[in-house]
Assembly symmetry: none
Homo-oligomer: 412 residues x 2
């Protein structure tokens, strides 16, 4: 099966946004063995959209459209496709109920044009939209497959993951199973990791091994094809073992996870509570922690001690410490971690203090950062980072290092 992704939206042709939907879908399709041969972007113009449909029909078995399912007059993807395919648009009761209840819940006024979002192409399987109002659609006519997805990535991505992907998989005839597993590494660069497993990369065929640089991390995707799913999984297990014999020290988790999620798993497993004192990170550590559901038994709370004043007043840092060592210091990190732990009576206190940048501070260049970790009944430790990123790159990476070091301390 080969696919073409057609994004509809004048905002793409004006350069207001990048076509990240095509990237996401291409990655997803590659994972399940569907070849993508073309991406097309076309504006909110029925004539040109119809031309794009005709041409995609000539060269693809599966056409995925994104965008143009909204309530306004320039949203005309499904209207144009329905007309081209000679199908009617009919109102989908479930989608209409979702829309009505959204407006009831938020107390906002539902205008007439919002009902248009509940219209679907006759005969299409409806893909529910759990993060917005316009439903998606999947339709098979002869040997051609059509999928319509909404434009906003936060609606489109979960819809494809939950409903779209399996709708495509059902249509695949291949009897070979494709299994893949993603391994995640922190504290090692992509080039270094690739060098460590150079011979494996050179000789790979099945399973394939693909390193990819991510958000200050490296992932390695191992993909195996086999008629038996069990056999494919065994092949992956074996390759994972080979890779981690070389770089296992930096390995921290599988698939769609993060250092924060892995840390929370350990806190939950060991029944531990935590408090944080954040200077340069300004609440980012705690904000990322509370992004995960169910952390209230672990994160008791903490302090954003961005100014010296708040370090003294809220975190009881000694004036001597700031005068003699400065806030970019091991001593300050240690006091912050110990004091916030004691203030909130938790098992763990963690602190972040240093220079995010772009300017230097107290004579320390941007990127000089101390992380303090205080565990009950153990001597408090501090870790020094020397980062070279932008202000926000440094803040983000500091939080990742905080999770990484704390994970290591808790595993020892």
């Amino acid at each position: 099966m080969n696919a073409e992704i057609v994004a509809v939206g004048t905002e793409l042709l004006l350069g207001q946004i990048a076509n990240t939907n095509a990237q996401f879908l291409s990655e997803q399709l590659a994972e399940i063995g569907v070849n993508v041969y073309y991406h097309t972007v076309v504006g909110d113009n029925p004539k040109r959209l119809e031309r794009a449909i005709v041409q995609a029909q000539e060269r693809a078995d599966l056409i995925i459209f994104t965008g143009g399912l909204g309530p306004t007059k320039d949203d005309l993807t499904k209207e144009t496709i329905a007309k081209h395919l000679g199908r009617k648009l009919i109102s989908d009761e479930a989608a209409l109920q979702t829309i009505i209840s959204y407006f009831q819940k938020t107390g906002r006024v539902m205008t007439e044009n919002n009902k248009k979002q509940a219209l679907v192409v006759e005969g299409a399987k409806v893909l529910p939209n759990e993060h917005g109002m316009a439903p998606g659609m999947f339709l098979k006519i002869d040997t051609s497959h059509y999928m319509l997805l909404p434009g906003p990535p936060h609606e489109m991505q979960p819809m494809f993951r939950k409903y779209g992907r399996s709708a495509v998989l059902d249509q695949l005839e291949a009897k070979e199973r494709i299994e893949s597993r993603v391994l995640r590494y922190f504290g090692i660069g992509e080039a270094q990791l690739a060098e460590e497993i150079d011979d494996i990369l050179e000789t790979q065929s099945n399973p394939t091994v693909a390193p990819l640089a991510g958000d200050n991390e490296v992932t390695v995707r191992i993909t195996a094809r086999h008629q038996s799913e069990d056999e494919a999984v065994l092949m992956i297990d074996e390759m994972e073992k080979r890779v981690n014999e070389r770089v296992g020290e930096h390995f921290y988790g599988y698939g769609d996870t993060s250092l924060m999620r892995e840390l929370l798993k350990v806190l939950e497993g060991k029944n531990l509570t935590i408090a944080a004192a954040e200077s340069l990170t300004g609440g980012l550590f705690q904000s990322e922690m509370t992004a995960v559901t169910g952390v209230s038994t672990m994160l008791i709370g903490g302090i954003v001690c961005y100014s010296n004043q708040s370090k003294l007043k809220l975190c009881n840092v000694k004036e001597d410490t700031i005068n003699n060592h400065g806030v970019v210091s091991e001593q300050c990190a240690v006091e912050l971690a110990e004091n916030v732990r004691e203030l909130l009576g938790t098992d763990i206190g963690i602190s972040f203090t240093g220079v995010a940048g772009p300017d230097s501070l107290e004579g320390h260049p941007a990127g000089t950062i101390w992380i303090g970790i205080s565990l009950k009944d153990k001597p408090t430790k501090a870790f020094l980072l020397n980062l070279a990123g932008s202000r926000n790159g440094n803040r983000k990476r500091t939080v990742q290092y905080g999770c990484y070091y704390l994970l290591r301390e808790l595993k020892n």
Copy 2:
């Protein structure tokens, strides 16, 4: 003149990178009044690339290719185009010298395939590459224009800005200027905004008015064409006035800004300090504030009071308040905002307390959120939100509403 952007590269079709080159070029072309009707992405495959060329020739006056000019075997954009146009490839002496001197300078060994990068299509104007080795090209045959640009954005962007843009401008007959302005709105949906200005959208021609839904926001882009730049700006001013007579209450800023940035501008202008107490947002408000450089004179610090325990211990909320009203209450929001302001001696205290979700709390459904705003010498106010998003959607939106309400209070 209308254009099509053809990006060449299998890495795009595998979803390894997004087609940000098309976005950049579209924005640049819109600025000089060239309409972009299509983007196409095709892999490193001569047959499919040739098909894409044929089709682009049918529908565009200017075809801009990006990618596939490098030294490796799968770089075949110029080879395929030259063959299709019946032109030879010839070595460009200046480009060859650039490549040779690059290798001399870095002390690296120049391999034979690097010379391939100096080949250009016969008859093309060469666009120098000042950030890499492969030169760009511009070629006019009859009424068709072809531009070839390298794939890496840090080479392509400066090349287009310095050489490509003027090469296109030279071909334009119209002397019209195109000006555009983006207006940002919060607290109103795209559908509602579109309905409020429906008659304007229906009758628009010059200037054009285009609403776009963003991150819980709506933007409106007004674009005017006129021979005189001043006249175009006046036309935009007038249209902005007409639009804002209807929806101006929700307008908050121009162009590349955010509610947080607008809030910081006001705090800076009025020389005000702020402290925050965050429950469900878990530090997100302060983290987004500290993402901006130079906020240390404004944000003194604050408390992440995620648990009841931390509301009592760190924020001095009365036990009675929690027992009688709960934490999802106006009373709790008011106390948090007042107490954090007093604790840190700031001009402003802001608080966030409520239910992010997905579960309900104290009998309140997910999305029930109170924002408290305490200004020195004024009665403290609290604002109730009823949001319908995901956990993190609600947290993010709560921070936006916090900025929005505080901005309104400070402007009154």
